[in-house]
Symmetry: C2
Subunit: 267 residues, 2 copies
């Protein structure tokens, strides 16, 4: 999916919601079958319930890999089930030397046919470049993540005075364009969005950390939006595991709709 199509979908649905597909076997209400079967059945129910309210899905590869090749098959079937109308982000946090990143790009863009893959920046340019240059495929590079550990290295001051994550955003934004790169910026750092928009005025930002991690939705929208909307706000656990009175599908649908309604107001 290209940028114009993504923006079109956002405007049409009045939503910039990304639903994170992190199926935790200990929390999913489907109890019959193998773990991989239960994951796939749960995902299909989640996708059916949330389709109208979101523009993107983000399966997190860890939750599939832990069930080995059967888990990976559930990932493949999940991506196929989503189809072409939603932007699909393989949340894989990959990145390796050039000849290896090229294989990861084949894994996620050809074998799995996701639209985007999350990539870690630590190994630098030649670990990221092989993911670029695939038509209508995207790198979503880690910038400033939502977790506590983001303070350990990302918030280190460089001798230039910049934070490491600022250097990453600035340097890496030159490797691609706003048509093939996005950046992960956690909602738990709402105070940083203004400065980040000075570095990245035109890029989409993938924003985790709303929901279970306690990020501030309003502040993220206020300081993070640009003329193209420019945000994909991800919610995983906050949508997948709502309190419910037995009608868990209805509860999931209700949560997704609630986020969409908040987004429609902002748009």
């Amino acid at each position: 999916m290209n940028k114009a199509q993504l923006i079109h979908n956002i405007r049409q649905k009045k939503s910039f919601l990304c639903v994170g597909l992190d199926p935790d076997i200990n929390r999913i209400p489907i109890k019959d079958g193998t773990p991989a079967q239960r994951i796939l059945a749960f995902n299909k129910a989640v996708i059916d319930a949330t389709r109208p309210y979101c523009v993107a899905y983000k399966p997190n590869t860890a939750f599939y890999e832990m069930y080995g090749s059967e888990g990976w098959q559930a990932l493949e079937e999940t991506v196929a089930y989503i189809g072409d109308d939603h932007f699909i982000i393989a949340d894989a946090k990959r990145g390796d030397i050039g000849n290896t990143s090229k294989k990861y790009a084949a894994a996620f863009f050809e074998s799995l046919d996701a639209d985007a893959v999350t990539v870690a920046p630590y190994m630098g340019s030649d670990s990221v470049m092989p993911f670029l240059g695939h038509t209508d495929k995207w790198v979503v590079l880690l910038g400033l993540t939502s977790n506590q550990g983001s303070n350990d290295f990302q918030m280190q001051r460089l001798s230039s005075g910049k934070f490491l994550y600022e250097e990453v955003l600035q340097t890496a934004s030159r490797w691609g364009t706003p048509e093939n790169m996005m950046f992960v910026i956690g909602a738990t750092h709402p105070e940083s969005f203004g400065d980040i928009r000075k570095i990245l005025p035109d890029h989409f930002l993938l924003v985790p950390g709303i929901g279970s991690q306690g990020g501030d939705f309003e502040a993220v929208c206020k300081y993070g939006m640009n003329a193209d909307v420019g945000l994909l706000i991800n919610v995983s656990r906050g949508i997948l595991y709502p309190p419910n009175d037995g009608d868990w599908v209805g509860a999931i649908r209700g949560e997704a709709k609630r986020y969409r309604d908040k987004m429609a107001q902002v748009l």
Copy 2:
């Protein structure tokens, strides 16, 4: 496998060679079957040929994931075929927020039953900690990698005067112990091994970059070894794809033995 067992194996075999299992379908000489079948047959031949000369194997997950669930199954069967006598490093470069890293730990230590997994440090402590605390299982954290892109961020000077990678080594070495953590240090930076040993006197270092990437074997041994040997030198393409006159298994065996003989001399 614990540290004492690893050191025992190194002393007994007079080898600290790790064979990287990066089966590239365009280069492997087995032509019959599906990609996953060809990969598995090639890996088995490589393992049979190199078993006596190495102490570790390092399958690189990208080369398997690019064939989806079938590729992942070839990875599982490869790990099972290696067995318990060799140290198995899943070269996966994972790392995510805590609840996700916990799932990756389950994927690589329980489902796949590798001894170690490579982890990227960018997301900080809570992205690494869930991999620690599994008995006789190891994190191999990226420190200073072998690729050109290691200059982009790892070699950035912090305001403290340290390089970023030095800060990573120093900080992360406090998260675990030399009994459950190793660090990746590329052989393409031989001049750095002396300084790195001041920060990490007791840790094992996993050293890629010898062979195809042109790292300096003698310098790495001279400046990198410690009282426990403390090095696992990885060779992937340099062993998997040697020039051969048709006897490719013999050529692979010959390359592995050549590295072992060089190591026996140093020991």
